[in-house]
């Protein structure tokens, strides 16, 4: 083995102090294998060294919480003895290097996180960020990522029921690929990653170990530069077929009384799964590498311990149940071997050919990594971003053109080109398919359904990370509420730049504070999550993107609603107040090429009142549709109500009171806490009464009729027709925009 030089330590992304700490822990210098193991476990990706301190502030408890952060995924009680298990993961760096495999293995990883907990995955959602599509590189990335998600998720038979995509050149060199997964488990049959019970066998199963992805975890903890493309041989290839077998084998194992603990081998592979399981139980593990199934000859202990080959698991079985475990794995054609046993001494001891090649206290490796209180401070450019002189921005002249431009812009355009490549119906639970505010999936064997959404407006977060994060929580909750669901839990995927930079760290800290305040206010616990730092290339960071995945519960599955208009003659209402919220609006970007201003105003109290109001309207069966108002403002929201239904296109005649607002603000401003609802005329009074009772401003703004969207703006006596378009035209622009751009070219 080579001597451990300063260079070698630096190549492993460890600082001098970190190296000193390793020497202290071991009471000697590490050998190369040990250095590699520390390097991956103490990487930002595995140790959360820059974020842990702040993550602790997030609310993680509540009456429904069955499992909070710290395990493979979080779990929330939904009654009937069941819980939902969910989490979101990023696979940003690998997806930039190899979009198909990067995204595919991202899906594979999050699925394993869910089924190791004993839950059968029933839904996936994906949240994506790319540079603008006029660049062929960005189109290539997008096509690759979408087909990678499709390739893996479809083969697994887990429907991808929703997601979101935003295009902005800030993501050109750092695209984001975040995948959310939800599964269902029996509340009293949750499995955890623990190596309890001294003497119990440690069993490896799944695919063989190859040289894939060695140092994936450290790569995810490093910024890109022009040389990153050289680091390519570390790319992992996914095998969804093997993963499907792994899923079925795991669930079958879990039905028997054979398991003590189980964990997937994700980032840092065998190293992380073994030391984390040992550490959680306060035990040690002895591993014999000679027993590890391998794909290639001549692999060193270093390579075996650090390999990130996909579709692998580690379980600790009850002593005496080995044969039963092996038999189930073999039934599913998986490689399987007893590779070690649980020990009492707290040491992760790795042997190869009878020799000890690594010997490290498991706890030190898993839990005693460095913690940093990184300095933070707002960037000097922050004021420049928020100070927008609106006098310099002329009000809209041709609102028809502006609306069409917005509908056609890829961020707002229909994502059908994407979600049609995803099997979104398999498992026959999908009640609300992609294309509405939230996806709704029924829970078989009950009358319940869960709604899910992923949301984050990262421009708002750039302009004001604290407000942006609060707005993201509010929007996610609003999306759920519009489908009739009560928000019950949250997972996050915090995508940021380099935490060693005080301005980035400031964004991170502010975003955490914002999430915390909003979640506490709405009483939504955060039960799992993931941090992805170093989304930065050549010194340029992405917008702060604290992506949220929120889950809601619908107690009676018939009480759900979708965003599109249903019937001619129905009346249209606006709940909430329009203000002059143009800052950070999509309209400003698309029409005026500005990404500036203060993000929209948000009152958590008003937002909460709105949620209660909408939920009670849906529960009382008063609504035909409900759609929250987000990117593109009221005009886009109304257009979506008209055209997003699968079957019919319905027109509407709408009158918006203007008050003292700019015309563009009333049409395209992104004021929060607003929802457009439609209802049969007989329910008019009941709706007005209920809204008033809840303290939510309400206004009848028009009715559904004809096949054009006609929009008047003004006050009594002086109204102006600002938009008049056939719904077919709106739809043609909106529905095929992505397809037109992405058709092989």
């Amino acid at each position: 083995m080579p001597p451990i030089t300063k260079d070698l330590v630096a190549q492993h992304n460890l600082t001098d102090e970190e190296y000193q700490k390793i020497v202290e822990i071991l009471g000697r210098g590490p050998n190369l294998t040990e250095l590699g193991m520390f390097s991956v476990m103490w990487s930002e990706h595995c140790s959360y060294k820059s974020s842990r301190l702040h993550l602790k502030k997030l609310p993680t408890t509540g009456p429904r919480v069955v499992q909070g952060p710290g395990e493979n995924a979080g779990a929330i009680d939904i009654g009937d003895g069941l819980c939902v298990v969910f989490k979101m993961e990023s696979h940003n760096h690998p997806s930039f290097i190899e979009p198909y495999q990067g995204a595919a293995t991202g899906v594979g990883g999050i699925l394993r996180d869910i089924f190791t907990m004993g839950a059968r995955p029933i839904a996936l959602l994906d949240s994506l960020r790319f540079g603008e599509l006029h660049s062929s590189k960005n189109r290539h990335l997008m096509r690759g990522v979408v087909s990678g998600i499709a390739g893996y998720g479809n083969c697994m038979g887990v429907p991808t029921v929703g997601g979101e995509i935003v295009f902005n050149d800030i993501y050109a060199l750092n695209p984001l690929v975040n995948v959310f997964c939800l599964g269902v488990a029996h509340k009293d049959k949750i499995f955890r990653g623990t190596a309890a019970g001294v003497g119990n066998p440690v069993i490896y199963f799944g695919s063989k170990t190859g040289r894939d992805g060695i140092h994936g975890a450290t790569m995810a903890s490093d910024s890109f530069d022009d040389e990153s493309e050289q680091k390519r041989p570390t790319v992992q290839v996914g095998d969804p077929f093997t993963e499907k077998l792994l899923l079925e084998a795991c669930l079958e194992l879990m039905e028997r009384d054979v398991l003590v603990g189980i964990q997937d081998m994700g980032a840092a592979g065998l190293t992380s799964s073994s030391c984390e399981m040992a550490s959680r139980a306060g035990n040690g593990i002895d591993l014999d590498l000679a027993k590890v199934p391998r794909r290639e000859p001549g692999m060193t202990p270093y390579e075996i311990m650090l390999s990130e080959s996909q579709e692998r698991m580690l379980m600790v079985a009850k002593a005496g149940k080995e044969e039963e475990c092996l038999a189930i794995c073999r039934k599913w054609d998986l490689d399987v071997a007893v590779i070690g046993k649980v020990t009492a001494d707290g040491i992760l001891r790795v042997k190869d050919e009878g020799k000890v090649v690594a010997e490290i206290p498991a706890k030190a490796l898993a839990d005693e990594g460095p913690r940093y209180e990184r300095p933070y401070q707002p960037p000097s450019y922050q004021d420049m971003l928020t100070n927008l002189n609106y006098d310099a921005v002329p009000d809209v002249k041709d609102a028809n053109a502006a609306l069409l431009a917005l509908l056609e812009s890829p961020t707002i355009a229909s994502k059908r080109w994407v979600y049609e490549q995803y099997d979104h119906m398999v498992r026959t639970n999908t009640m609300v398919r992609p294309g509405s505010d939230a996806a709704v999936v029924r829970i078989k064997g009950t009358n319940k359904a869960v709604a899910m959404t992923v949301d984050c407006n990262s421009r708002y977060c750039l302009l004001h990370p604290y407000e942006g994060a609060r707005l993201a929580v509010a929007e996610a909750a609003r999306n759920l509420v519009c489908s009739g669901a009560v928000p019950i839990g949250l997972t996050d995927c915090l995508n940021f730049g380099n935490p060693e930079r005080p301005d980035i760290m400031w964004q991170f800290v502010m975003a955490i504070e914002g999430m915390k305040d909003a979640c506490e206010h709405f009483q939504i616990p955060i039960v799992s999550g993931n941090v992805s730092f170093y989304n930065e290339t050549n010194g340029l960071s992405i917008y702060p993107t604290p992506m949220l995945g929120m889950v809601g519960l619908i107690e009676h599955s018939e009480r759900t609603t979708t965003q599109w208009f249903k019937e001619e003659g129905d009346e249209v209402f606006l709940l909430g107040t329009s203000r002059e919220d143009l800052g950070g609006a999509e309209y400003l970007k698309v029409v005026h090429a500005r990404e500036q201003g203060s993000p929209p105003y948000l009152s958590l109290d008003k937002e909460k009142a709105l949620h209660e109001c909408v939920l009670s309207l849906i529960h009382e069966g008063l609504l035909q549709s409900a759609h929250d108002c987000s990117e593109g403002g009221l005009a886009v929201t109304l257009a979506e109500c008209c055209m997003s239904g699968a079957e019919q296109a319905l027109g509407a005649v709408i009158r918006l009171t203007r008050g003292r607002l700019r015309k563009d603000a009333i049409l395209f401003g992104e004021s929060q806490s607003r929802v457009v609802i439609s209802a049969k005329p007989v329910h008019r009074q009941a709706i007005l009464d209920r809204a008033t009772q809840s303290g939510v401003p309400v206004e009848v703004i028009g009715s559904i009729s004809g096949n054009r969207l006609v929009l008047y703006v003004g006050d009594e006596g002086s109204t102006e027709k600002v938009i008049d378009q056939p719904v077919a035209t709106l739809r043609a622009r909106w529905a095929f925009s992505l397809e037109r751009t992405l058709r092989e070219s």
């Binding site: 040289r211 894939d212 790319v235 290839v237 077929f241 093997t242 290639e296």
Partner: protein, 80 residues
């Protein structure tokens, strides 16, 4: 000219298809087949007489589109 192009996974990269086919061959009774690897084969006609130019073009096609050089390698033959 006619170009024949082979694109195969780099050594060391997992080949799930190859693995599945090997398994299937085995259960069909072909127990003496091993190391099955699956790749792509492409043929195309190039309206180009000059061999050197044709070669440069095919190489560039492979690099840009036909092979995913992160995980795949390629080779090609040209014939009249």
């Amino acid at each position: 000219m006619k170009a024949k192009i082979h694109v195969t996974l780099k050594r060391g990269i997992l080949d799930p298809q190859g693995k599945a086919i090997e398994h299937a061959l085995e259960s069909l009774g072909f127990k003496n087949a091993a190391n099955v690897r699956v790749g792509k084969y492409m043929e195309l006609d190039l309206m180009e007489q000059d061999k050197a130019k044709a070669e440069a073009q095919v190489k560039s096609m492979c690099e840009k589109l036909l092979a995913n050089t992160i995980i795949e390698e390629y080779r090609y033959e040209l014939s009249a």
